[in-house]
Amino acid sequence: MAQQPIRSTHRLKPVVSSKGTPMAQAAAVAKPPAPPRRRRASATPRRLPYLLIAPAALLMLGFIAYPVLSVFYYSLQHYNPTKPWRNGYAGFDNFVHAFTQDPQFWDTLLFSAKWVVVEVGLQLLFGLALALIVNQTFVGRGLGRALVFSPWAVSGVLTSAIWVLLYNSQTGITRYLADLGIGSYGTSWLSDTSTVFPAAVVADLWRGVPFFAILILADLQSVSKDLYEAAEVDGASRLKQFWHITLPHLKDAIVLSTLLRAVWEFNNVDLLYTLTNGGPAGVTTTLPLYVAKTSVNGHNFGYASALTTVAFVILLFFSIVYLRLSKFGGEK
């Protein structure tokens, strides 16, 4: 398991060598011409690269690193501005409470996992299919691409606004479906615990599928046409060509975009916050949404920080997998 990804990346290296990670490129670019450039660079102060990254580094230290550290600090504290008499060092109380006495923590964690798996899985499936379709040559391809990709840039809040209009019980699509004899009048998919999950999934799919379609389409552009011609000569069916040429070529892009998207879907709260606000009866509350509510409505910053720390650990696990698969540091 630990060795597998690294070995496979080495095997794939010749295919992707023109792209690679920035680090890989850096290594490739920086190593051979280093001596002449060193001499050149000596004309400029050695501090220059540090001066250039300083603004970015300072901003990230102040507004990412420091907040992360303060979350770790508060996770070990009882800290609630509305209950100052309880504030103080808590040890691992907050974590113990989360894992043993807070069913909502487990519920929201489980829902997050379900949400991420279903969303990313379906987005990948539809995105791949869509990319393969719009990669064909056909009349109206440019317009087709522009239209199917168009929800990509729509915000979570706007997506919610649109789907609130569609799902509205009085004037939404259900009313017109009922007019046609499908379903019944007055159904509101967002306020019924049995329909809210698929309803929210569809709304997020609408916006999420183009992301995968765009990335996969970009990668499809670089498949060598000779491979298909050779396969054609050998009499391989289209399905076989897809399985043996297209899919292996897309593997890297799929792995990376899936992981990136999983992290993004896990973290993103815009859509569910505005579409369902975690309801009805809390059945669509993800862990980050629960954290936001605990800290903003409940003012329980200490406990919210502990939950955040748990979320970080989960994401860290994903990050490590991600870094391995993206060949980061794999060049030696």
């Binding site: 011409p33 064909q136 840039a153 919610s160 606004a161 896990f266």
Partner: protein, 294 residues
């Protein structure tokens, strides 16, 4: 067997007509296998857009499925009564300031990463990648405390800073990739001709980066325009709020004014649609340059 042989002559006949003969295998796909799924998916994509247009343009209380008679009342109402005119200004300000700040800071950092070897480079790259996994939503409380400390709560500056910071890592990775695609020899030639490093960068490299910078800047703008949580948390003063917050307020009202909500949604979408139409052609090429794989 017979079915395999049968289409072959047809292919030979049709081939000269096609400009790109190299893609025979994929050109064979029957048209209906393209147009049928594409049409179904287009319905799924376009009905929601049509729905919001319909609600925005038809008079309140109408149940007609075509926006006729057409009215602009909802837009007027949302722009003035619901202060979307003001929110629009705030959103434009936040979007443009984030665009400029992100692009300038990421350009400096990206240049350092692309053209220099320095000791902290590897660690810095690692920090950039790891920051991709830090969710802004989970840092709301400490960020709120920081901005309170800096007396920046209720000022657009807090949202601009927060959006910029979370846009920076990816922008910098992308830009350093674009700079790496410019051969260093071009710059070195300018140095030999007596240009300073900065002048060489400005005259030689910057023009070549234009497509990349347009893509990165547009991302930053669209992201800041769309993002909701920072503005919701850091701007409690109603006159400072942005469009997504205004939309959320409309949605959470006791009785939702659907016409106003739809019109507000269209106001929110227009700038993004314009930017999107503008950058679409850079998108695919930008991604296929492989820069996003960082």
């Amino acid at each position: 067997m017979i079915t395999e042989i049968a289409p072959a002559p047809q292919r030979v006949v049709s081939e000269p007509a096609r400009p790109r003969g190299g893609r025979r295998a994929w050109d064979e796909v029957p048209r209906w296998q393209i147009y049928l799924p594409l049409s179904v998916y287009l319905l799924f994509t376009l009905i929601p857009f049509y729905w919001i247009l319909l609600f925005a343009l038809r008079p309140a209380g109408s149940t007609s499925l075509v926006p006729w008679p057409m009215t602009l009342d909802h837009f007027e109402k949302v722009w003035t009564e619901r202060s979307f005119g003001l929110y629009f200004q705030n959103s434009v300000l936040v979007g443009l300031a984030t665009l400029v700040l992100t692009t300038v800071v990421a350009l400096a950092g990206g240049y350092a990463l692309a053209r220099f070897d320095f000791r902290l480079k590897r660690g810095f790259m690692l920090a950039l990648l790891c920051s991709q996994f830090v969710p802004g939503a989970l840092l709301l409380v400490p960020l709120f405390q920081i901005f309170a400390e800096l007396s920046m709560i209720n000022s657009l500056g807090s949202v601009i800073l927060a959006e910029t910071v979370f846009q920076l890592p990816l922008s910098m990775i992308l830009i350093s990739g674009f700079i790496r695609n410019v051969p260093p020899s071009l710059e070195e030639a300018a140095w030999v001709d007596g240009c300073s490093r900065f002048a060489a960068f400005r005259i030689v490299v910057l023009p070549l980066l234009r497509p990349g910078l347009i893509a990165v800047g547009s991302f930053a703008f669209v992201h800041a325009w769309n993002h909701f949580l920072f503005a919701l948390m850091f701007l409690s003063d109603q006159s400072k709020q942005t469009i997504p917050v205004g939309l959320n307020t409309l949605m959470n009202a006791d009785s939702v004014d659907l016409g106003a909500l739809a019109a507000g949604g269209i106001v929110a979408a227009v700038p993004v649609v314009i930017v999107f139409a503008f950058i679409q052609k850079w998108l695919i090429t930008g991604f296929s340059a492989g820069a996003v794989k960082g």
